[in-house]
């Protein structure tokens, strides 16, 4: 599990850096709802990823059928968590909805940024 924790730490910190710098950038451009939405969405994306890692121990060692059922259950519970920033942004004008949507994909952006950056540097060289 140590390696999983390290992976979580790596991608969560990268996502947080993207969110903070992106958020600050938009706040400085006087697009406060967008910046705040980005940070809010990213925080919940990180929480979701951490919970995802915690649920691994449940799935490992289970049969295919049982692991699919466990996945369905954990997905639904994490849906509830990811729904929170979306509901907040739809109810309060201080948070931009589209920015929250981008924010909840911040972990995926952090994960995919690595091969994308590698490919870009390969093309350049």
């Amino acid at each position: 599990m140590e390696q999983v924790r390290l992976t979580q730490k790596k991608y969560c910190s990268r996502a947080m850096v993207f969110a903070v710098f992106g958020g600050l950038f938009f706040i400085l451009l006087d697009l406060k709802p967008f910046g705040k939405g980005l940070i809010l969405g990213s925080i919940f994306s990180i929480i979701n990823f951490i919970l995802m890692g915690e649920s691994i121990t449940l799935k490992i060692g289970a049969s295919k059928k049982r692991s699919a059922m466990l996945s369905l259950l954990t997905i639904f519970s994490r849906y509830v968590i990811l729904a929170i920033p979306l509901i907040i942004s739809l109810k309060f004008k201080q948070f931009d909805f589209m920015a929250v949507v981008i924010g909840i994909f911040m972990i995926q952006i952090a994960i995919l940024s690595e091969p994308a950056f590698n490919l870009l540097s390969k093309f350049k060289s």
């Binding site: 992976t7 691994i56 997905i75 979306l86 091969p115």
Partner: protein, 324 residues
């Protein structure tokens, strides 16, 4: 008992949100379950690399889950937005948006799970090349999400475009057809793309030196796999943006609805078939890289043939819209 337009819109939005999230969860859950199952096998094969395998599983599952998060976004929009009650067409748009996103998330969720599962098994087999296998998986899984992105875009267009100036009949059917076209058409390419990515991860682990050529063929195979999803999206755009004259006949709305269904269902088989073809090619290029050129040529010919039924569906859908 008579209901106001607003009540119908609310009822459609609530049921549509349920459909979006319900269907959206199916694909991601199966994909994640498959990944976990493959990770179990991989850990049993190589317990010393359990940490590395769990790490790959976690990252793969995070990507596989993206499509269901798209569905969540649409469901939340449907539940908490105030829709204009100017026209009954809003009932069709909100229902179609949820249906489109829910169906569109199924294939991508399962497909991404296939590649993540193969990556876990591959790392157990070739732990020294785990970073290559991981990169391979990430690229393959990201491309698998394309059909779900088409569905998300279609749902956004349906929700944020004002169709109230159009006649209720036959526009309601065109809008429902648009959602069904992209949603159903995303299932096959999502799964097919997953098959290709799975073979790529497996092949890259079997023969790590072939990884660059395997990734190139994987991308080519996945690009062809996505074609039928593009057909579905194209038919949706025509149904959404073409103005149809008002009619009292039920035949015209049914025709437009059928064109969406025709393209949607017609894209499922070719998407999977093309993916199976790509899977075979990628798998064998990894085993016999010297025959890569011949295998790629055979793959492309096979894909073109498998694709033809999707083209028939596209032609029939276009005839239904423009000729009939």
């Amino acid at each position: 008992m008579e209901f106001a337009t607003h009540t119908w819109i609310q009822a459609a939005a609530y049921s549509s949100a349920g459909i979006a999230i319900g269907f959206g969860a199916i694909g991601a859950a199966i994909g994640e379950g498959h990944t976990a199952s493959c990770a179990t096998l991989a850990v049993a094969r190589n317990p010393g690399k359990a940490g590395e395998i769990l790490k790959t599983m976690l990252v793969g599952q995070a990507i596989a889950e993206s499509s269901s998060i798209f569905a969540l976004v649409i469901a939340m929009l449907l539940l908490f937005s105030n829709f204009s009650a100017e026209s009954y067409l809003t009932v069709a748009t909100v229902f179609s948006a949820g249906l489109c996103m829910g169906l569109g998330a199924i294939g991508s969720g399962i497909g991404s799970g296939f590649s993540a599962g193969a990556a876990c098994t591959g790392i157990a087999r070739q732990p020294a090349y785990s970073s290559r296998v991981m990169t391979n998986m990430l690229i393959g899984s990201a491309v698998c999400q394309t059909p779900a992105i088409f569905s998300l875009v279609t749902s956004f267009i349906l929700l944020f475009t004002n169709f109230s100036a159009r006649p209720v009949s036959p526009t309601w059917a065109a809008l429902l057809g648009a959602g069904l076209s992209t949603g159903l058409a995303a299932i096959g390419p999502g799964l097919g793309g997953g098959y290709v990515a799975e073979a790529s991860c497996e092949g890259g682990a079997r023969n790590p030196l072939t990884t660059p050529s395997v990734i190139n063929v994987m991308l080519l195979g996945q690009a062809v796999t996505q074609t039928t999803a593009i057909y579905g999206f194209l038919v949706s755009c025509i149904l959404m943006f073409k103005s149809f004259p008002a009619t009292d006949s039920i035949a015209v709305p049914i025709l437009l609805l059928s064109s969406g269904l025709c393209m949607g269902f017609g894209a499922i088989g070719p998407g999977i078939g093309v993916g199976v073809s790509g899977q075979g090619a990628v798998r064998w290029i990894a085993r016999n890289p010297n025959a890569a050129a011949d295998i790629t040529r055979t793959m492309l010919i096979g894909m073109a043939t498998a694709q033809s039924t999707g083209i028939y569906a596209l032609v029939v859908a276009l005839v239904m819209i423009f000729v009939m």
